[in-house]
């Protein structure tokens, strides 16, 4: 039992190396519950396409300050998200399963600057961040398969040389 606990803890630590990746549900839910994430994903994909966030042209306009659209989308998303998080914290809102909502704190490391710049380059080149990549593929831009495949290679390569990089 002791041994098993230790293993679980290490697993959580490794996953936590990635600041996003810290979703530890305390209660176990049946596997079909994952379908709700599928439903949210479908909704997210539709929004990303109808708002043209997946458009290479919109991304170029954003970085050339030729259109307010992308700034409006991201800005208003953050405002609504921040108000929601504030309300969740202020009124101590629980999940539908009655669980305490966990909002992970992020710590600073150099990767946010160096990796951030690298992603910025890739974003302007491909016209897509990871979410839109999957939406672009569904949209019918089959060549996005190459971009997604290379993004996987990039992620894998980061894992390979992670310990040699400044953090």
């Amino acid at each position: 039992m002791q041994e098993q606990n230790k293993e679980i803890n290490t697993d959580f630590e490794v996953r936590s190396l990635d600041t996003i990746c810290v979703n530890e549900e305390q209660i176990t839910t049946p596997a079909w519950h994952n379908l709700k994430y599928l439903a949210f994903g479908i909704l997210f994909g539709i929004i990303l396409i109808k708002s043209e966030v997946i458009s290479w042209f919109r991304i170029q306009e954003m970085f050339r300050l030729q259109s307010f659209h992308m700034f409006g989308v991201i800005g208003s998303a953050v405002v609504v998200g921040a108000i929601s998080v504030f309300i969740i914290k202020r009124f101590n809102i629980k999940t539908i399963h009655g669980e305490e909502i966990i909002l992970p704190e992020k710590s600073f490391n150099k990767g946010q600057i160096i990796g951030g710049l690298m992603f910025g380059f890739g974003w302007a080149m491909t016209g897509a961040c990871p979410g839109p990549l999957f939406a672009q593929l569904g949209y019918g831009a089959t060549a996005t398969l190459i971009t997604i495949f290379m993004a996987l290679i990039g992620t894998w390569f980061y894992g390979l040389i992670r310990e040699k990089l400044p953090h």
Binding site: G41, W56, R64, V85, G116, F121, F134, A143
Partner: protein, 189 residues
């Protein structure tokens, strides 16, 4: 104009932005999940090619919700094409159109410029750099930064995380440098 016709039009930012923002509380309340997309790439690596690398040595099945979410985004794309697509050409800033025409980009039928992103273009220097190098940078950069536009810019900023603000500013600076200074050179190739 009927409701369905209205939905088929491109959505203005003040409709789409708040809807994207609402994904944050939706995922938190329905399952205690923080919005994030780029982690899915890591989970695929962990599931398919861990290769003994410690960064991929974890139980990816615990994060499987993220793969369902991402598959949903893909399905959302298909649904949009079949039921919610408008056939009008993409409206683009005239200044940008003029600049792009000098690089031989004149097709506005798709949100993803067909002249740049197709399998044949992979064998041109320009296409290779945009798809292969660009894709690599998206994967490497987001993981090194610990998140992408959704994880840092939307979720992190909503939770008022300073590291996410630093990351978001870096994304934007990188994008500005690439789009204005480097991309014109790549497109000229």
């Amino acid at each position: 104009m009927s409701m369905i016709e209205l939905i088929r039009q491109p959505w203005p930012w003040y409709v789409a932005g708040p809807l994207i923002g609402l994904m944050v509380p939706a995922l938190l309340i329905f399952g205690n999940k923080s919005l994030g997309i780029s982690s899915s790439l890591r989970h695929v690596c962990a599931a398919c090619i861990p290769a003994g690398i410690s960064f991929f040595n974890y139980d990816w099945k615990k994060e499987i919700w993220n793969l369902f979410f991402v598959f949903g985004v893909f399905l959302g794309g298909i649904i949009t094409v079949y039921y919610l697509k408008n056939d009008a050409a993409v409206v683009v800033n005239p200044g940008l159109m003029q600049e792009l025409s000098t690089y031989g980009i004149n097709d506005y039928s798709s949100l993803v410029p067909i002249e740049l992103f197709n399998f044949g273009a992979l064998f041109t220097l320009r296409g290779f750099i945009l798809m292969v190098v660009g894709g690599f940078l998206v994967g490497f950069g987001t993981r090194y930064a610990g998140g992408c536009t959704s994880g840092h810019a939307i979720m992190g900023l909503s939770n008022l995380q300073l590291p996410s603000l630093i990351a978001t500013i870096s994304f934007m600076v990188g994008g500005f440098i690439m789009a204005n200074l480097i991309l014109p050179l790549i497109l000229s190739l």
